[in-house]
Each structure stands twice: as C-alpha cells, then as structure tokens.
C-alpha cells in the first residue's frame, strides 16, 4: 500500500504495542488522522511493573506510569471495539459508532486465563487488579498462588515481601519449563530460603462456591487460603475479530513485518509472528515494542519496510534476585561462565543451545542489554 492511500489509521488497544505503533507511525511521517481505542480508562502503563515494584513500592504508586503519549492521536479511552469489517474497512465500537480506516492496528493484547468463573479466583493482568491486590496484601492474608511460571513466582515473591505466608502450587518444579533446570534451580532455591512453600502437583483445579473457594490437587488434596491467586497463562483478546478470518487458533497470524493483510497490522500479545522456532506468540514487553515499530513502518512504507529482526529479551525479578536473558529459553544443560562462578553470587553465563543459537544470561549482574545481545552472536 502506498503512503498516499493512508489517510486514516485506527489503533485498537492502548497497551505498549498499540502505543508504540502509534508513536512510530508519526515518526515515519504519517500525518493523517490517528485514532486510538482502548477499553481501559487508564492511559497506557507498564504492565511488567504490576507484579514487581508496584506490589512492593510502599506508597509511591508510580512505578507503572509511562510518560504521556506524544503521537497526538484522538484517544477514545474506556471504549471497546466490538467488531471489524475488513471489506468496508470499519471498526465498530460499543458506543454504537464506527470508525472508518485505511490502515488498522490490532493491539488488544491478552487477558489472564482463569481456572474457574468464581469471583474469589484473583488474577493479575491490569492496573486495577494490581491495586486491588495491594490493598488486600496490606492485611497480610495467607496467599495461595497457582502457577509456577515467571508471573506466578513474581506474585508469590511480592506477597512474601509484603509479609504474607505464601504457598505456590506448580505443575512440576517452578520455572523449569520456562527457564530450564539450571536457572529454575537458582530461583526456587532463593524462594525456599525466603520462606515460600512450594507444592508440586499435576493439573490443579479451582473449585467451591463464591465466598468459599479452594484448590484441588490431582491427588485429591484440598488447599485453602485467604487470597487465592492464579497465574496460569494468557488468552489473546481476539473475540471481537470473529468472522473476519483473521484469527487462527485464537491468535492473529502475521508476516515478518507484522501485517495480517495489506492495511491490517497485528502487534503485541495477540499476534503470532514468524520466529526461528516457528510462527508463535511471544507475549513479552520488548517483543510488543519491536512488533509495534515494525508493523507501523510496514503500514507507512509497505514492502520497503524492513522485516522485524527479533531476538527475545526477557527479565524477571523475584526473591531478591534478578535475571536478564537474550536468546531462546528454556536453556537446557549447564552454562559456560563468562564472569562469576557457580554459586549464589552474580554471574554472566552463556548457553550453547541445540539449534546452534546462544542464550546469554545475566544473574544479579548489571550489563547493558546491547552487550548481552552481542554475546549471543559470538559462540560461547
């Protein structure tokens, strides 16, 4: 599509992916009509902060705030998109109006997967969830977290730091599926030292009735706590795209530039894009930013836009330890120590993965991400 045809762009979803796409459209010279629709009433904020500093931050309540947007778009906040008509090029909204477009950016992200429909099952996805959880933690309730992934572990860490007794229910050893056994061991050791109770199980269920919920483990054991939290993955918000043919297996598949079709970009947690390990969603912060930039360029410049060069960046902070990783995870086997040594101190490590790629990991170790990226380009 040529620049001439692009007069009106609608961005649906006001998270970091939509915001980055809107900013980039402007940087790339798009000066037409730009509209952003977002169903949260809050201006875009940092979601990763919700399970980290925001749960701890005594009182400042600012670790999630992002600087005000500078794209000058018309912002429709608190408004939900209910449908997309790709033939007539219209986005329909829940206030009964619709927005015509020449280019559209689908950026409605994802939501927490739940194990029940019970209101007592708490999940953490949005700012309102985080603020509500903070208020409850102030009373130091007992907490049961279901889910041994990075999010479940960060939440457990935050709850422990708030002074709550915390039990974490995990399928297998926490973090192993996401980080690999070595790094998982580092964090679960720190977690247990800080007093986290870890319960390993097969598939667990959340059951009961409003006001009295429990977790049932696969062996029949029943666990209860004052606060029951689950962190068991996310589901892309693609229901509003029903009937468009854009959704495959719940996500929106896109090409290497982030386009689902000419004039239709999809970015962030809802998009599945080509990676060296196949077409998949990579629901992470810097992935959302890379996708937002790349797709905006594709809308403005068409085939002249460069394909996205993607390399996963992941970080987590929990139980007093921090990790930054560039390259594919989980990391199998034992690392090569570039600096530091095995044990509990700071370390810079590299894994040579089976597919020939390198994963560079900094543990409690300050290092610029560009340097970590460079490490993955030279064999360990």
């Amino acid at each position: 599509m040529s620049t001439v045809a692009l007069k009106r762009v609608v961005v649906v979803g006001n998270g970091i992916a939509g915001l980055t796409a809107a900013d980039t459209l402007r940087e790339e010279g798009f000066d037409g009509e730009l509209t952003i629709v977002g169903d949260e009433i809050h201006p875009a904020y940092s979601r990763p902060a919700l399970s980290k500093a925001l749960l701890l931050d005594g009182d400042t309540l600012s670790s999630h705030t992002l600087p005000p947007a500078s794209h000058g778009a018309r912002e429709l906040l608190g408004v939900r998109a209910t449908g997309l008509d790709p033939d007539r090029r219209l986005v329909t909204l829940d206030d009964g109006t619709s927005l015509p477009y020449d280019g559209v950016v689908l950026a409605t992200g994802s939501r927490a997967r739940r194990l029940s429909g019970l209101p007592d099952e708490v999940t953490l996805r949005g700012l309102d969830d985080a603020l509500a959880l903070r208020r409850r933690l102030a009373g130091r309730p007992s907490v049961l977290v279901v889910g041994g992934g990075p999010l479940g572990m960060e939440i457990a860490s935050g709850c422990l730091a708030a002074g709550c007794p915390v039990t974490l229910v995990s399928q297998g050893e926490p973090l192993t599926a996401q980080l690999g056994p070595h790094l998982a061991g580092v964090f679960t050791t720190a977690a247990r030292e800080r007093g986290l109770t870890v319960v390993r199980t097969g598939p667990a269920r959340v059951a009961g009735r409003a006001g009295d919920v429990h977790v049932a483990l696969d062996d029949g054991t029943v666990l209860r706590a004052e606060v029951l939290l689950t962190a068991v993955g996310d589901i892309p918000n693609t229901e509003w795209l029903a009937g468009t043919g854009l959704v495959v297996n719940g996500a929106v598949p896109v090409d290497t530039r982030g386009l689902a079709r000419p004039g239709v970009a999809a970015v962030g947690d809802l998009a599945a894009f080509p990676t060296p390990r196949g077409r998949r969603r990579v629901p992470l912060w810097s992935s959302a930013i890379d996708q937002g930039k790349s797709a905006a360029r594709a809308l403005v410049h068409g085939d002249d836009a460069p394909p996205m060069s993607f390399q996963p960046y992941f970080w987590t902070e929990q139980f007093g330890r921090t990790l930054k990783a560039v390259g594919p995870l989980p990391a199998a086997g034992e690392p090569v120590y570039v600096d530091g040594e095995p044990g509990s101190g700071p370390a810079l490590m590299a894994w040579q993965q089976e597919d020939g790629s390198t994963t560079a990991v900094a543990l409690d170790y300050r290092i610029p991400v560009p340097r970590l990226r460079r490490m993955t380009r030279t064999p360990a």
């Binding site: 902060a49 670790s63 705030t65 600087p67 300050r366 610029p368 991400v369």
Partner: protein, 62 residues
Amino acid sequence: MKIVLDRPRCEGHGLCEEAAPQLMHLDDDGELVLDLEEIDGGDVALAKAAARVCPVAALRVQ
C-alpha cells in the same frame, strides 16, 4: 526540556538506549549515562520514545 533519570529505579535494561542511542548509553558497568540532558527540537520526541519503552519508568522528560 530536560531528561531526568531516577537512578535508583533504573535497572539497566538499556531498552531506552535502543530507542534513543543519540541521547543516552549504558556504560560498561551497566550504568545509564545521559549524553544530553537539556534537549529541544527533534530530540524531545526521541527522549519521550526512550522514556516510554523503559519498563520501570525510570526516565522522565519535563
């Protein structure tokens, strides 16, 4: 305008540097260095883009 870094909050992710390498970089110890603090013109948009990508909101443009 001015770029302000909340240093204790900065975790050295360096995502800001990737957004605005003209204005800031991480030194070898992973400490963020602002190469330019007083900014105007096109640099303001760049600085804001850098502040936006920081996942811990350690940068402000004011």
